[in-house]
Subunit: 151 residues, 2 copies
DNA sequence: GCTATGTATATCGCGCGCGATACAATCGCA
DNA sequence: TGCGATTGTATCGCGCGCGATATACATAGC
């Protein structure tokens, strides 16, 4: 029988995900501020550092951020001198994103943040990987992927 | 030695948390739309359903949402007829939030969403609780709590 | 009582996050 | 070749999320 009282948000997986995500954002902020990056901007810089010259749509797919969110975000990063936006010659609808030299420096500095955060929290690689796998499985489930058990 | 290439966001715990959180939001949206609630509004309604008459600050603490986010959110819920805002008689700085009858109905309807979502995804209570505990520990770490192993 | 300090809530500004929409460039196909 | 459908990106509107700030109320100390 259904209990007479509603569940506390604390008892819900979705709330704990929501709260942990915001907690991560708050914890990263003091480390990202010196770089002049927001958290989603940090993700974009890392993705570009990993593979430069991606189109807007590729970034959108990889990060799960809609292009209508990315467009203004990329404009702000361009205005900050971190990247260039370059129309494709062969398909003028597409826009390729390239890091500037300053952007490359920023990306390398950004790379260290997760490491130092993990170290500061005392989280081992194994713990992180384990949680990460759980979250990835959950995300695939939510995204409607028909459960690809292995990756 | 540090690898010559930057890490993919995919390999980061923080990104997977970020992405899973947004995925949850997107998955909940079609279920919340009929109730006229956003996701944070859903959390507020559940919290009030669990304990009515909370002050703004209590909601803020419990949900980890700043009062500057809650104030306009509560005004929207009041405008939607889901709750009343009532100044305390004894301390006129405080505002207590009470669900309206319509709000109580909404809260009960909202309560079913997590259950049905879990069922649709094939997630058992044990799996949810296990992930939940991991996320809670992570959140406590990030919030600077000096690691209270048990709760 | 009267000022200083602290507390509870609210307002403002800016950057997401995303649905809806716009628009140009490309593609498909008769 | 031409024209409708599709694709890639951008714009708009609204609701968070949160730092900074405001404001009213309460409390403490004198």
């Amino acid at each position: 029988m259904t209990p007479p009282v509603l569940p506390k948000p604390e008892a819900l997986l979705c709330f704990n995900l929501y709260a942990a995500s915001h907690a991560f954002n708050r914890a990263y902020k003091p480390l990202l501020d010196p770089l002049g990056l927001t958290y989603p901007q940090f993700l974009v810089m890392l993705s570009l550092g990993q593979q430069d010259g991606q189109a807007v749509g590729q970034l959108s797919d990889d990060l799960g951020i809609e292009t209508n969110t990315l467009s203004p975000l990329l404009k702000r990063l361009e205005a900050a001198g971190q990247l260039r936006r370059e129309r494709s010659q062969t398909d003028e609808r597409r826009v390729f994103i390239h890091l500037t030299p300053a952007g490359i420096d920023t990306a390398f500095a950004a790379q260290r943040i997760p490491e130092s955060m993990a170290a500061a929290l005392g989280i081992t690689r194994d713990e992180a990987d384990s949680s990460l796998a759980t979250l990835r499985r959950l995300r695939d489930l939510l995204n409607g992927t028909p459960r690809p058990q292995i990756d």
